[in-house]
C-alpha cells in the first residue's frame, strides 16, 4: 500500500467509513507510526472544525416574492403538464382511429363522386394559355398575377356594384 492510499484510509477511519478488522489493524498501525498519528490528529481536527460550519444566509429576496415565483412556476408547469397529458382512454381510442377513418372517407368520396372528371373543377371560369382573367363587365377592374413556378394565380377584383351571377360573367381564356 503506498503512502497516498494509507492517508486515504486514515481519513476513512476518521470519517467512520472503516470498520471491523480493517479499522482495528489501521488503528494499531497508527499507534506505532508517528507520521500517521500526526495525520490522524490533523484530520480529526479538520473534521471537528467543519462540524456545523455552514454559514447561515438569509434569502436575498423577500419571502413573499420568493413564494410568488415558486407558486407561479408550479402553476405554469401544472398547466403544461395538463396540456401534454394523454387524453382519456375513450377519447384516445377515438383520436387514434380518427385519421385513418377520415382518410378512408375521403377516398370513398372521391371514388363515388358523380361529377368526377379529369380537368379542373368547373367554376365557370376558364383559363387560357396566357392565364389572364377576362370579365364581361366593364365596371369591374381586374388585375391578375401569375407565378408559373408556383402554379399560382392571384386575382384582384375591384368593383363598385353588387355582384350577381346573371350580370357578371367571368371566365378565363
Amino acid at each position: 500500500m503506498n503512502e497516498n492510499e494509507t492517508e486515504l484510509r486514515v481519513q476513512a477511519l476518521v470519517d467512520g467509513e472503516l470498520a471491523g478488522t480493517e479499522a482495528d489493524e489501521l488503528r494499531a498501525r497508527i499507534q506505532g507510526d508517528d507520521a500517521l498519528r500526526e495525520l490522524h490528529a490533523r484530520l480529526t481536527a479538520a473534521r471537528g472544525l467543519m462540524d456545523g460550519a455552514e454559514l447561515p444566509r438569509p434569502l436575498p429576496e423577500p419571502g413573499d416574492f420568493h413564494w410568488s415565483q415558486i407558486s407561479e412556476a408550479i402553476e405554469r408547469e401544472d398547466r403544461q403538464a395538463r396540456r401534454l397529458a394523454k387524453p382519456s382512454t375513450r377519447a384516445g381510442w377515438l383520436l387514434s382511429w380518427l385519421p385513418p377513418l377520415a382518410g378512408a372517407a375521403c377516398i370513398l368520396l372521391l371514388l363515388t363522386s358523380p361529377s368526377r372528371h379529369d380537368g379542373p373543377p368547373d367554376l365557370g371560369i376558364m383559363l387560357g394559355s396566357d392565364h389572364e382573367l377576362e370579365l364581361s363587365d366593364d365596371t369591374i377592374d381586374v388585375m391578375t398575377y401569375n407565378t408559373g413556378d408556383d402554379n399560382m394565380s392571384i386575382v384582384w377584383l375591384d368593383f363598385s356594384i353588387d355582384l350577381r351571377p346573371d350580370t357578371l360573367h367571368i371566365w378565363l381564356d
Binding site: 497516498n4 492517508e7 486515504l8 481519513q11 476513512a12 470519517d15 467509513e17 495525520l39 490528529a41 490533523r42 484530520l43 481536527a45 479538520a46 473534521r47 472544525l49 467543519m50 462540524d51 460550519a53 455552514e54 454559514l55 447561515p56 444566509r57 438569509p58 434569502l59 436575498p60 429576496e61 419571502g63 420568493h66 413564494w67 415565483q69 415558486i70 407558486s71 412556476a73 408550479i74 408547469e77
Partner: protein
C-alpha cells in the same frame, strides 16, 4: 363545518399531508419555514447568489411535483435538501459541459501542487469565536474548485456517506476519498493562511 387548518402551528408532517392533498397554503408554510436552509445549501455549492435562488426555487417546484414520493423516511427539510443538492450537481455538470475546459484542466494543473501540501493543523483559537471562524471557513470554501467544494459540502454539511457521494457525483468511492482528502488539505492551508494574516495564530 370543519375547522380551518392552523398552518403556523402544524408540524411539518401534517403540512406535508395537507400539501399532498393539494393544499398550496400548507406548502407555502413549508416554504416559509425552510427556504433559508435550502437557499444556503444551494449557495454553499454554487457560490453564486442568483443561481442559488433559482435552484432553490426549482427545488421547491420539484418538491411539490414529487410530494407523493416523500414517505417520511427522512425529515422534510432533509428530503428537500437532497433535491436542491441534486439540482446543483446537475447545474455543475451543465456548466462543465458548457465550458469543456476548466475543471479537469484545473485539477490537472493544481493537483500536483495540492499533493505536495502538508496537512496542516487548524484549531479554533482563543479569541476567535465560532461565528468568526465560520466566516473564514466560508471564505476558504469559496476558494476551492467546484469538485472539491462539492465533496466537502456533501460530506460535511449534507452528511452523506462516501458511497452516496460517489453515486450522486457519478464517480468512484476512491475518487471521492481522494477529492475529500485534498479538499481538506486545501481548506486547512487556506484557513491557516487567513488566521496567520489576521494575527490570530503564530
Amino acid at each position: 363545518m370543519p375547522a380551518e387548518p392552523v398552518y403556523s402551528s402544524a408540524e411539518d408532517p401534517q403540512l406535508v399531508e395537507w400539501a399532498k392533498a393539494g393544499d398550496m397554503v400548507a406548502f407555502e408554510e413549508l416554504v416559509s419555514r425552510h427556504r433559508d436552509r435550502i437557499y444556503v445549501r444551494a449557495y454553499s455549492i454554487m457560490r453564486n447568489e442568483d443561481l442559488a435562488v433559482d435552484l432553490s426555487q426549482n427545488a421547491w417546484v420539484k418538491a411539490w411535483q414529487r410530494l407523493d414520493q416523500f414517505h417520511g423516511d427522512a425529515s422534510f427539510p432533509t428530503w428537500l435538501s437532497r433535491i436542491v443538492t441534486n439540482l446543483c450537481l446537475d447545474e455543475l455538470r451543465r456548466q462543465k459541459r458548457a465550458r469543456m475546459d476548466s475543471i479537469e484542466a484545473m485539477e490537472e494543473s493544481t493537483g500536483p501542487v495540492e499533493n505536495r501540501l502538508e496537512m496542516e493543523m487548524v484549531d479554533p483559537v482563543e479569541g476567535l469565536d465560532r461565528e468568526e471562524l465560520r466566516e473564514r471557513i466560508d471564505a476558504a470554501l469559496a476558494k476551492l474548485s467546484d469538485k472539491h467544494r462539492t465533496v466537502i459540502v456533501l460530506y460535511e454539511f449534507e452528511q452523506l456517506e462516501y458511497r452516496q457521494i460517489a453515486d450522486r457525483m457519478g464517480t468512484s468511492i476512491g475518487t471521492v476519498m481522494s477529492r475529500l482528502f485534498y479538499a481538506r488539505k486545501r481548506m486547512a492551508s487556506l484557513l491557516n493562511e487567513t488566521l496567520k494574516r489576521d494575527g490570530l495564530i503564530e
